[in-house]
Symmetry: C2
Subunit: 488 residues, 2 copies
Amino acid sequence: MQYQYSRSMLYEQLASEVGDAIRRGALRAGDRLPSVRRLADQRGVSVATVLSAYLELENAGLIEVRPKSGHYVRPRRGDELVAPRPARRMNAPARPSVSDGVARLISAMRDLSLVPLGSAYLGADDLPIAALNKLAAGISREMSTTGATYDPARGLTALRRQLARRSVAWGLSLHEDDFVTTIGATEALYLGLRAVARPGDAIAVESPTYFGVLQVIEALGMAAVEVPADPTTGLDLDALEDVLRGGRVRAVVAQTTATNPLGAVMPDDARRRLVRMLDRHDLPLIEDDVYGDLVFDGSRPRPARAYDTAGRVLLCGSVSKTLAPGYRVGWIAPGRYHEEVERLKFAHTLAGPTLTQTAVAEFLAGGGYDRHLRRLRRVLGARVEQVRDAIAAWFPTGCRVTSPLGGFVLWVELPPGVDALVLQQRAFDRGVAIAPGPIFSARRRFGNFVRLSCGAWSPRVEAGVQTVGEIACELSGRAPAAAPGGVA
Amino acid sequence: MQYQYSRSMLYEQLASEVGDAIRRGALRAGDRLPSVRRLADQRGVSVATVLSAYLELENAGLIEVRPKSGHYVRPRRGDELVAPRPARRMNAPARPSVSDGVARLISAMRDLSLVPLGSAYLGADDLPIAALNKLAAGISREMSTTGATYDPARGLTALRRQLARRSVAWGLSLHEDDFVTTIGATEALYLGLRAVARPGDAIAVESPTYFGVLQVIEALGMAAVEVPADPTTGLDLDALEDVLRGGRVRAVVAQTTATNPLGAVMPDDARRRLVRMLDRHDLPLIEDDVYGDLVFDGSRPRPARAYDTAGRVLLCGSVSKTLAPGYRVGWIAPGRYHEEVERLKFAHTLAGPTLTQTAVAEFLAGGGYDRHLRRLRRVLGARVEQVRDAIAAWFPTGCRVTSPLGGFVLWVELPPGVDALVLQQRAFDRGVAIAPGPIFSARRRFGNFVRLSCGAWSPRVEAGVQTVGEIACELSGRAPAAAPGGVA
């Protein structure tokens, strides 16, 4: 067993390294990879290990075998795509009103007959949900009084202990008492915002931003100020500085790692600069880190919280993107706002369920999480490329698409004049769910953008991308880029 | 098995009937009960059945055996107690600020070394928690992808179906789509209030009222107008009418059945009058029905919602008082505010956990719930009398105590000048948790009241009541009522 484990680790590591080299552009389309025997010699591993790694890369669509010649980096249609342009600045606060568009998205999520390119969640095949449920079954069976009392509002101690342990890997050293567990990151965002701001206050958010943030702001009667975000580096700090100097903003909400919908990762220097900026303006940051474990190159950037010495960063996370969305287990480390958040938590939901928190705590304690994450990052990195390829083939000429550094969504800029809401409706009518751009903006910008989730991949999903592309071609009057006469 | 079940039903029913006769005063202290043989003849049941019923009543402390004489209604010290006086009217709104007192209460709840007279939750022995956990174990094992997706914001369909089915027993006929499931009744109250009122609005509440309601009002930046409640009939509708005529109130929050802390049950006529009054003023009612299944005489009063034809009653409930507090399964039937509540639910917590909702749905579908409730009502009815007896024995002369019609809490008025917060602290120091009166009021009234939970009973709990009584005697300078020289 030990041998098997080690070997499997080796080939996975190898596949991951070569995959990264391809994604980073160190190996380019058409490049020949080292022969199997040669790479085995170079790395001091068995031929079988190299073969396994190459097979995995082939399955992921990153390389191809040319008979009697060797392994080559596969030409990718997606390489021809360029990134969308960042949004323009627009500093006046706006009351978000995205609930209707979101409601349609969510009801589509439950409709299993639809191709799931809409909501950002992974299929059961990608998640260790069976293992987690096995733990839950054991807990229910053996700890027969589980659920007989209310947990403390701050959450199950065993879970908070595991979070404290994991926080070391995040480059932090949080104590179990630094956490309050929540009903997913949604409640964490809600409690965090509620603790630091009041109805009527203006909140700075990324543009585009996760629509759930806008919904919380809407529900709390606050207003959003949209700050442009770059598809690679995230929040534009010059633009943020400009907004903060206006003096109307009461808090900032941002993702820093593998942002949704852009897939950006804020560089370490920028995280430091962001925290210093907030120090100067004496403002809190609600840092949404739900995708923090899903950077394709395997790095785990330190949250902005790591640069915070004043307790002004409220760090939010969950297991919804990596373990089980339906367990609704999230957390917040609210820094200096801890007491207020805990008080609000009691008034909101009193406490979280014991059973689901216990199962997640046991899973995190078991040590299989890191191994799962390594595999998941590789799978998602490859899958995002597959969807990009399909977009390059079927979407109209002139489309722009992000090249995310992590997570599992793509942000697509369609030709001007294509109405994303019309596209959503027509795609829905043809059995495909997508997320329209305007729900990612308090001002309903991004009218010609859509977000595609890469949470699943299959011939059916591929056909779904084709369907969306065909509709976009109809709406724009353009041919697909890959069609005869189409222009890349 | 069938025979055993029938017999057990019979003796339980018999015990329940006799117990009710005693509680209602049809049989009084010192009265002789019919002989075993005679009652068996009269009722057409076996002698063994009557013996089982009498044994249960004896164990519950309601009757006693006098050798060679028969069974007698036991004299109860608690019978000497009189009810507390209703609060005076005080119509100006006040911003609640009860969180600190509540936080102390809640942290005490988690301290297993304390005698649990503080928080209103039942011990694991009273709950079918093992059966519920067994269902959860089966679900986790057999439905291995449970939790792999987000449930719809309105909640698990299977659970909403069971709630619709049960609503028939409540005297309603709600459809599954009338419900939104929530994280306990706490989230139901929060969403309900948030849907019908805004920060700064005045909300009419009972006085005294469940502190959780005040916490939600506090968290939402609203104000509470306290309307006196009667220990038997609940909310004083004349006083409410007076308050509503003032025109400042935006919504009413009230319990109608087995209220906390009074144990009142609003008569049917009053429920009808309440809804008509709200119709006239065009105001919503958030009806908290968490104790609705726990009226000692086995009746299940129709919620005020049953008299509502305009969709203005938002009915809230949970399984926290009858099945499993730590499962955090609650619901709201928000009437005409449904759309808004569902939208807010999404922004608050997105959705509830799948596993816990599925387990509760299966439990409700299984049919054991009604049987459990029958037993629980009997147990709690008897236990409340036991705690009343202990109070009569050990608390200072001049105390007043409620005689609740349901639920499992007692509301105790101490002699003037006794500071309930000091009493709480001293009791805490001596290892006993209690709930101080001021947290049941936005104006921190009830300074000389405490609430005692009857969620558990044992020699240790009895000693805890004695301890609280002793401290109350010290603080008031009075002797216990049952002491030599004490006056009942």
